[in-house]
Amino acid sequence: MTAEAIELDSWLERLPLTLRDLLAGPIPGPWRWIVQDVIAIAVVLAVFPLLFAFLTLAERKVLGRIQNRPGPNRVGWGGILQPFADGIKMLTKEDIVPRAADPVLHFLAPVALVSFSLLSLAVIPYGRHLVPLDLDAGILYFFAASASSELAVFMAGWAGRNKYSLLAAMRALAQLISYELPLLLSLVPVVMLAGTLSPSGIVAAQAGWSAGFLPHWNILTPWGLAGFAIFMVAALAEANRSPFDLPEAESELIAGHLTEYSGFKYALFFMAEYFAMCALSGMAVTLFLGGWQAPVAILQFVPSYGWFAIKLLSLLLGFIWIRATLPRLRIDQLMRLAWKFLLPLALINLVTASFWHLSAGWGAAAQPLRWGLGLALVAVPFVVIGRRLSTGLGPRTYRYAAP
C-alpha cells in the first residue's frame, strides 16, 4: 500500500494506523518497529480471548434459542457476564494432576495447544491496514502452525498415562491428520489462481466488482464454491466441531484425551479449540469470501475490518447452527468421508480451477457454457462419488400389515 493510497481512505479506515502511530510515536526510530509489533500482538491477544468468551455465550444462547429456550440469562443482563462467571469457575476448579502423569508434558500440552492456535492468528488480514504479520508465504505459515496443534493433542493424550486417553488421542490424531489433506488441497486452487501465498495478495486478487455489484470473490466461481464447501467441512473436523466432535463425545466409550485434565487446563483446551475455529474461519473468509472486501462497491464506506468481522461472525454462526442440528459421525465413517469423498473431490477441484483459469479468455457469449462446464465438473463427481459411497443407505418406504 503506497503512502498516497493510504491518504485516500476514509479516516475510519486509517483509524488503526493513527492509533498505532499515536502510541509508537515518541519511541525513537530504531525501536519503533518493536513497539508496533508489541501493539499488534497485544491487540490480537486482547481481541481473540474476548471473542472466545462471547463466542461461548453466543453458542449457548443460539443453541438455546434453537431449542426453544432462552439460554443463560441469569448472570448479568441477559447473561452477558456468563463467560466471566465460567472463567472464574474454571479458575477456582481444582486442577488434578494424576500421580502417574508426566508433570512437564501434562502442563505443557494445553499451553502448547493454545500457543499454536494463537500463532496461526498472526497472518490473517483483518483489514486493509490490519495485518499483524504480512508474510509473503503467510498461507504456508498458517497451516504449519495449525498443523502442529496435532502434536499438542497427542502430548495431552500421552501425558495422562491413561490407556484410554492414549487410545482417544490416537483417534483424534487420525481424524486431524486425515482432514489436513482435504483442507490443504481445497486451498491450492486459490493459491494457484491468485499466484501468491501471501494472504493480503490473495485478498487483493479478489478485489473489484464487475458491473458494480458482482464481487470477484473466489466463492462466486464453480471451483470456489466446491473449494469453500470442502474447506468448511474439513475445518469442522480440524476444530473438532459438531459432526466430527469425536474426541469429547460423551456417548463414546472413551471420554477422549481430555480425561486427565480439570480446572483451568481443561478450559485452555476449549479456548484453543475456539481459537482454531476462529483462525480457520478467518482463513476461509480470506481465501474464499474476499477477506475484507466489501460485497458491493457502494458499501465501501463501512471499514474493511467491519466487513471481515461480519463475514467471520456469520461463519461462526454457521458452525453453531450445524452443531445444533447434526448428529455425530462414527470414527470409521468419518475416515471414509475424508479419504474417499473429500480428497477425490478436492483433487477434481484442481481440474475445475485449471479449466476455469484456461477458459478465462472466453468471450461474453461463451460465459454460460463456461459456467455450465465448470458447475458440471463440480457437480457430476459429487453425485457419482456420493452415490457410490452411500450404497444401501437411503430413505425407505414402509408397508402395513394386512388388516
Binding site: R65, N68, R69, P70, T325, G386
Partner: protein, 212 residues
C-alpha cells in the same frame, strides 16, 4: 444421499431459531421464580386435614379417626391414635377425633388414595409444593396441627371439588336434622345411648364417591 436431508434439517432448526422470538409455541420456558405456571385444579401434592373453621382448627376437624386411610395407605405413612373422649361434629353427632394424626411426608407419595377412601371427606390433597427443608427428620413428620387447614382454604385450592363436597355434606346434614326432627316430637322417652368409647363408628357402606 447428497446432503439434501441435512439441509432440510438445518432449515427446521433455523425456523425454530426464528420462531423462538415471536411464536409462543416455540419458546416454552417459564422463568420459575419470576413467572409461575398455572397449576391445574386437580394437581395434588401432600394431604391436609380439613377443619370446618380456621379459628379453632383442632376443635372442628372433620376427621373422626376411623383409620381407614391408615390401613389403605400403600406406603403406610399415616399414623393415627384415637382420642379417649368424644366431641360433637358439624352435624352435632358425638364423634371421636384423632389425638395424634401424623403423616410422614418423606414416605408419602401423594397418590391420594387416602382422599379417595375417606368416607368423611376429612383429608384432601394440597397444592403447595415449595416445602423444602434443610433437616430430613423433624420437619418431614407433620403432626395434626401442621396438617390442619380450614375448609375455606380447601375451597380456594380445589373450588369445584370443594363445592361438590360441601353440597353433599349440607344435604347429609339436612337429612340428619329432618330425621332428628321427626324423631324428636314424641319427646318423653329418654334413651340412654351407651356407646363404648372405643367402638369405631361404622363408616357408611364403602360406596364410591365420584369427585366432579
Amino acid at each position: 444421499m447428497l446432503g439434501t436431508g441435512i439441509l432440510k434439517g438445518l432449515a427446521v432448526t433455523a425456523k425454530n431459531l426464528a420462531g423462538s422470538f415471536h411464536d409462543p409455541g416455540r419458546f416454552v420456558t417459564t422463568q420459575y421464580p419470576e413467572q409461575r405456571s398455572v397449576l391445574p385444579e386437580n394437581y395434588r401434592n401432600f394431604p391436609f386435614l380439613v377443619a370446618e373453621d380456621d379459628k379453632d382448627p383442632m376443635g372442628t376437624l372433620r376427621c373422626v379417626a376411623c383409620q381407614i386411610c391408615e390401613k389403605e395407605c400403600p406406603p403406610q405413612c399415616i399414623y393415627i391414635e384415637k382420642s379417649r373422649d368424644k366431641k360433637p361434629d358439624a352435624a352435632g353427632k358425638m364423634q371421636l377425633y384423632p389425638a395424634v394424626f401424623d403423616i410422614d411426608i418423606s414416605v408419602c407419595m401423594s397418590c391420594q388414595i387416602c382422599v379417595e377412601v375417606c368416607p368423611f371427606d376429612a383429608i384432601k390433597m394440597d397444592q403447595e409444593f415449595e416445602i423444602a427443608t434443610d433437616n430430613r427428620f423433624r420437619p418431614l413428620l407433620r403432626d395434626r396441627e401442621q396438617l390442619a387447614r380450614s375448609n375455606r382454604y380447601f375451597q380456594q385450592v380445589h373450588p369445584t371439588e370443594a363445592a361438590e363436597v360441601d353440597a353433599r355434606l349440607a344435604a347429609a346434614r339436612r337429612a340428619a336434622e329432618e330425621k332428628a326432627a321427626a324423631k324428636a316430637p314424641p319427646p318423653a322417652r329418654q334413651e340412654v345411648q351407651t356407646k363404648p368409647a372405643t367402638e369405631r363408628p361404622d363408616p357408611p357402606a364403602g360406596g364410591i364417591k365420584t369427585e366432579a
